[in-house]
């Protein structure tokens, strides 16, 4: 069976410019990234700021054009389809901050209707579909007439999920979907995403910096560092036997709440009495570890 999402040699470089707008060089935001997600699976992409994880998400959504490489959704290259209904109907995205991704001047129903209108969903059927979507994300139908400011953070994120599901996509890109939420609210949103994934046979690309959350949600993970996947594999294997120094540093940095978790964290040598930065640690080891192929 074809994977739901396949990424081959994806690269994105941005030109750097002088103060006068002359191109002076380029920066590689994403460098030769390849991975695949099987249907119904959750693939976690972990990395810190600047690692390229959001650039990858934007390229999958067609918001940024790759410099080279290809993106296949359900076996079809998206290159010729960017901006088309066919592309939008297959993949949708849930953004990090629901406070910013919902238009404050639209009611919940109006926000959810935007993709329906864009995809030519019959107007007469819209109220029924909106009610159905609110049921799916476990919000009462009365929420349809409310504005974002009347909703809590968790409720707003449920609306954003309903909007992403409106056109029944097969693949959902989740960009830090719970990082703005309290931990108890996060648990309920993760429950909802898991239930929806099973009920609707969805495939998730889950982008997060929260390794503890990733450990419990993704079947496979890729660790991104400066645009490259430095390590990838089954989640338990990567977490229990991290091979790359950067993965070890990330795991060692997670604040944990039990002795068992603490025992799992790799020991990182201190440099000048400090936890080293990734740059320093990798320089210290003098390593040029390439990417580990899956």
């Amino acid at each position: 069976m074809k994977p739901m999402l396949e990424i081959r040699g994806l690269t994105k470089t941005f030109p750097t410019r002088s103060a006068f707008g002359r191109a002076t060089g380029e920066v590689k935001a994403v460098a030769n990234v390849s991975f695949a997600i099987e249907r119904g699976q959750v693939y976690g992409l972990a990395g810190e700021s600047g690692s390229g994880k959001s650039t990858i998400a934007r390229m999958i959504m067609g918001l940024t054009r790759p410099t080279s490489g290809s993106i296949l959704i359900d076996g079809q290259d998206i290159a010729g389809q960017i901006g088309t209904r066919a592309h939008g109907a297959r993949v949708q995205m849930v953004f990090q901050n629901p406070g910013a991704s919902l238009n404050p001047r639209r009611t919940v129903a109006q926000s959810i209707a935007v993709p329906l209108v864009a995809h030519g969903f019959p107007r007469a059927d819209q109220p029924r579909r909106i009610s159905e979507l609110l049921d799916m994300v476990q919000l009462q139908r009365a929420f349809a007439q409310r504005y974002p400011h009347e909703l809590s953070g968790g409720q707003k994120q449920r609306v954003a999920i309903a909007r992403a599901l409106a056109v029944a996509p097969r693949l959902l890109v989740l960009d830090e979907p719970t990082s703005a939420l309290d931990v108890s609210v996060q648990a309920r949103v993760m429950d909802l995403l898991t239930d929806l994934g099973r009920a609707l046979d969805l495939t998730f690309l889950f982008i997060s910096h929260d390794l503890s959350l990733m450990r419990n949600f993704a079947q496979r993970v890729g660790i991104l560092y400066l645009g490259e996947i430095v390590e990838t594999g089954e989640t338990p294997a990567v977490f229990e036997h991290p091979l790359h120094d950067y993965t070890r540093l990330l795991l060692a940095s997670v604040p944990v709440i039990s002795a068992e978790e603490e025992a799992m964290r790799p020991i990182i040598p201190l440099i000048d009495g400090e936890i080293p930065t990734a740059e320093k640690l990798l320089a210290l080891r003098g390593q040029t570890q390439g990417k580990v192929t899956p």
Binding site: E48, S49, G153, D182, V183, S184, Q186, A187, M190, D191, L193, T194, D195, R198, H209, D210, L211, S212, L213, R215, N216, F217, T235, P236, F239, L249, L250, L251, A252, S253, V254, P255, V256, I257, S258, E260, E261, M264, R265, D272, G273, E274, I275, T277, A278
Partner: protein, 278 residues
């Protein structure tokens, strides 16, 4: 009164649009000298209002302190004259703020901003120090937060520094006039996980080496475990549980604490998300 900071039965209400909400109800907590104490709660629990009341930063109105006392070193801060209160702020007790991006003024260099803080702190303490000595002190404190090249950093504008370096500057600012108590509001929350780990370790080292008392305000139970020895859990404006940190995680008593701990995903795995079994 043995504790350095002692909050007794603090109650605060907010009045907005003619409606009054009870935001803190009989909150009591103690921070002994040299101790590392955490105050943990989710958004809306009242932890930030508690911090603001301690620092004297509550805007009144809309806030109103309806009861209780806040003792610092035996003196009730709530009955203190304004100028005595101000004299304590930044000198006896200092804040480390959460967001290093918005807590620094973009149009002044680090040296300007730290120098100004020191100048006013000196004035409040009746100390005399010339500009050159002030700069020497600024560089000394920047070195204490393990900034290499303090001279270069102090000549920089905030935009020239990384997030982790800005957070270090904020810590350095809090340390300028050698306070006995450091109140840290979610330090490192806005930073990457590896940078956050560095900042937490730095704070811990500074506090133990210099014998400071630390009140760590956070929503992150992992941060509580790594930085404190005693913890207060807040929910809906009340302290619902207080315990030695190790005891709280080993044997939580209140239902709220139990549910909070249960909601934290573990690095070891084992959380099953979803309400229906596949």
């Amino acid at each position: 009164m043995s504790a350095l900071l002692s909050v007794r039965d603090l109650s605060v209400e907010f009045t907005t649009y003619g409606q009054t909400a009870q935001v803190l109800q009989n909150v009591s907590l103690d921070v002994p000298a040299h101790a590392q104490i955490a105050l943990v709660g989710e958004s809306g629990s009242g932890k930030t209002v508690t911090m603001k009341a301690i620092m004297g930063l509550l805007r009144q109105p809309p806030a109103r302190i309806t009861g209780g006392q806040i003792f610092y070193d035996g003196r009730d801060l709530l009955t203190l004259a304004d100028r005595d209160r101000v004299a304590l702020r930044g000198t006896a007790m200092s804040m480390v703020f959460q967001d290093p991006m918005s807590s620094l003024n973009p149009v002044f260099t680090i040296a300007d901003q730290m120098g100004t803080i020191l100048k006013y702190a000196d004035r409040r303490l009746g100390r005399v120090r010339n500009a050159r000595d002030r700069m020497a002190r600024v560089h000394e404190v920047l070195a204490q937060v393990r900034m290499r090249e303090p001279e270069r950093v102090s000549a920089s504008y905030p935009i020239m520094l990384s997030g982790g370096m800005r957070q270090r500057v904020l810590i350095a600012m809090a340390l300028l006039s050698e306070p006995a108590l450091l109140i840290a509001d979610e330090p490192g929350t806005a930073l990457d996980v590896t940078t956050q780990a560095q900042i937490l370790r730095l704070l811990k080292d500074l506090v133990t080496q210099r014998g400071l008392a630390l009140l760590m305000i956070t929503h992150n139970l992992g941060v509580v475990r790594e930085t404190s020895s005693y913890v207060y859990v807040m929910n809906k404006g009340r302290v619902v549980e207080q315990a030695e940190t190790a005891t709280l995680f080993a044997n939580p008593q209140s239902d709220y604490t139990k549910s909070l701990i249960a909601a934290v995903p573990r690095l070891t795995g084992g959380t099953r998300y979803g309400t229906v079994t596949p």
